[in-house]
């Protein structure tokens, strides 16, 4: 087994068993290409157990975060069917290592979208937009990782909750939102925090997933990236998002 397969197996097992691992590359020897190869191999193992591919998630989409990480591009991860948490329903804390949650906007695609597309082409491929929550749960101890490590770990993605779908033709570039824990507002933001306009995140998703040979498909969901800092979630809590005009979504984190 080569090094990529070895690390993929390690991270896949950590995600499956909700078990933390030590950093796989603390010295930073892995290239971004290696990191994405590990992610792909790790998700392939999950898919071979029966999970379906349902879309992609974008990460480090806030300018502040990109500067903080010293990045020149966003990162992405793969969404699988076992990551879906039904809106309004519960998920179990034991599925996660140390989950955090962030508010996002989600795209539902009605057409495939690949390569270098314009914002207009990207919008033309969107069936609907929805308020959404993403559970991010780094498999690394203490949520500490390098850039290649977080990419290998599927960009920390581990769960998604999606609210009601809405026609995307009305401007969604600056929709105010709140994320609440047990009904108390924890963060306030706007979809404008996502690269200045969430559509830019979809354009990047089309480019990056095509470059990896897995172009975006009709019916896929694209999670555009966090609109506020992430918040820790404890067992027993109810997490919800409310978004201007688009409505809300929530889930229970059970023991």
């Amino acid at each position: 087994m080569n090094r990529v397969e070895e690390l993929a197996e390690q991270l896949d097992a950590a995600a499956r068993d909700a078990r933390e691992v030590t950093q796989i590359d603390p010295e930073g020897h892995l290239s971004l290409q290696d990191a994405y190869a590990i992610q792909r191999a790790s998700i392939e193992r999950r898919v071979s157990r029966g999970a379906g591919r349902i879309g992609v998630k974008m990460g480090f989409t806030s300018r502040a975060k990109m500067v903080q990480m010293g990045l020149s591009d966003v990162i992405w991860g793969r969404l699988t069917s076992d990551m879906l948490i039904e809106e309004g329903m519960a998920t179990s804390f034991v599925r996660f290592v140390h989950p955090r949650v962030e508010p996002e906007i989600a795209f539902l695609l009605k057409k495939p979208l690949s390569g270098h597309v314009t914002a207009a082409e990207a919008l033309a491929a969107v069936e609907a937009v929805a308020p959404a929550l993403e559970v991010i749960d780094s498999r690394y101890r203490d949520f500490k990782f390098t850039l290649p490590e977080v990419i290998a770990d599927n960009a920390s993605s581990s769960g998604i909750v999606v609210g009601p779908w809405t026609d995307p033709r009305e401007d969604f570039s600056n929709l105010g939102l709140t994320m609440s824990i047990d009904g108390r507002v924890a963060h306030v933001g706007s979809t404008a925090a996502i690269l200045g306009h969430p559509l830019r995140s979809l354009v990047a998703a089309a480019r990056l997933s095509d470059a990896a040979g897995e172009p975006l498909q009709a019916g896929w969901v694209v999670m555009a990236g966090g609109a506020t800092p992430a918040e820790w979630v404890k067992p027993g809590q109810y997490v919800s998002i409310e978004m201007e005009r688009l409505g809300g979504a929530g889930f229970h984190m059970e023991n």
């Binding site: 600056n174 105010g176 709140t178 306030v188 706007s190 404008a192 200045g196 609109a227």
Partner: protein, 272 residues
């Protein structure tokens, strides 16, 4: 015998001098360790009276400060504060603002409320305030501090007219019924980059709550808000430092946009 009285007039004078000369002062809480919130408001009132009587400036409304939970926590308080707005602090959309006369300026996006009726009843409530609001405008508030390094606590900012400086108003009035005040998205950009992002909920849960707090407070101190008064809500997102030559634009969903242009050379209209 030790004296427990605060030199209100002296403190007020030192703040006015700092404004005039740009020589910033030490925190009042250090100069007057026993200073209370009531003293701080007395200092503010002294300068308000001075500005009206001696400088011929006109009060056009109030600003509300400390409306963000994070800022209240930072200053160790659980309530907002207020300061007075004067006629010469206002600028129009895109009208150049001189850096002269601003002290350590920072900028934040807010909702401006213009009242159509007096709020002079006892203890005005939400329904009174909703009825009294004539229209809303997007606004950028340029805050400033006469206290060196913005080293402020509650009493320092209250005495310093709630760290006010100037403000820029948008030009297209909107009705309250057309705006989702709680969830309206806000983005403030500089050279096309979002530098502050938020929503109405960042201001006491809803900017209207801030206006109700102000209306009650002003009624209680016998200076009720009046028809025509302008009220600046408090920030919808984090404040950002201003440098000469900067141009900031904010968009607030439902309210439109407003732009603040800061001069590089001292050619813009100055605050008196």
């Amino acid at each position: 015998m030790a004296t427990f009285s605060i030199d209100i007039a002296g403190a007020a004078h030192s703040l006015r001098e700092a404004t005039r000369t740009g020589n910033l002062i030490a925190p009042l809480r250090e100069t007057f360790p026993l200073i209370t919130a009531a003293d701080a408001y007395a200092i503010q009132r002294t300068n308000t009276e001075h500005r009206v009587r001696e400088e011929g400036r006109r009060i056009v409304g109030c600003k509300i400060g400390l409306t963000a939970k994070a800022v209240q926590a930072q200053l160790g308080v659980d309530q907002p504060d207020f300061g007075m707005l004067f006629d010469d602090m206002g600028f129009g959309d895109g009208e150049p603002v001189s850096m002269e006369g601003l002290q350590q300026p920072k900028i934040e996006a807010e909702v401006a409320f213009v009242l159509g009726r007096d709020l002079d009843m006892e203890k005005p409530g939400h329904a009174d305030v909703i009825q009294a609001i004539d229209h809303l405008l997007p606004a950028l508030e340029i805050v400033g501090s006469r206290i060196a390094d913005w080293n402020i606590r509650f009493v320092d900012t209250v005495a310093d007219n709630a760290s006010s400086g100037a403000y820029v108003l948008g030009s297209t009035p909107k009705k309250l019924s057309h705006v989702d005040l709680r969830l309206c998205g806000m983005v403030m950009t500089r050279r096309g980059e979002p530098v502050s992002v938020g929503a109405g909920a960042a201001c006491l849960g809803n900017p209207l709550n801030a206006v109700v707090w102000l209306a009650r407070t002003m009624a209680a101190v016998g200076q009720p808000l009046r028809a025509g008064h302008l009220v600046l809500s408090g920030a919808l997102g984090p404040m950002v430092a201003v440098n000469a030559g900067d141009i900031f634009e904010t968009r607030i969903n439902g309210l439109g946009s407003v732009k603040a242009v800061f001069e590089t050379e001292p050619t813009g209209r100055q605050l008196t």
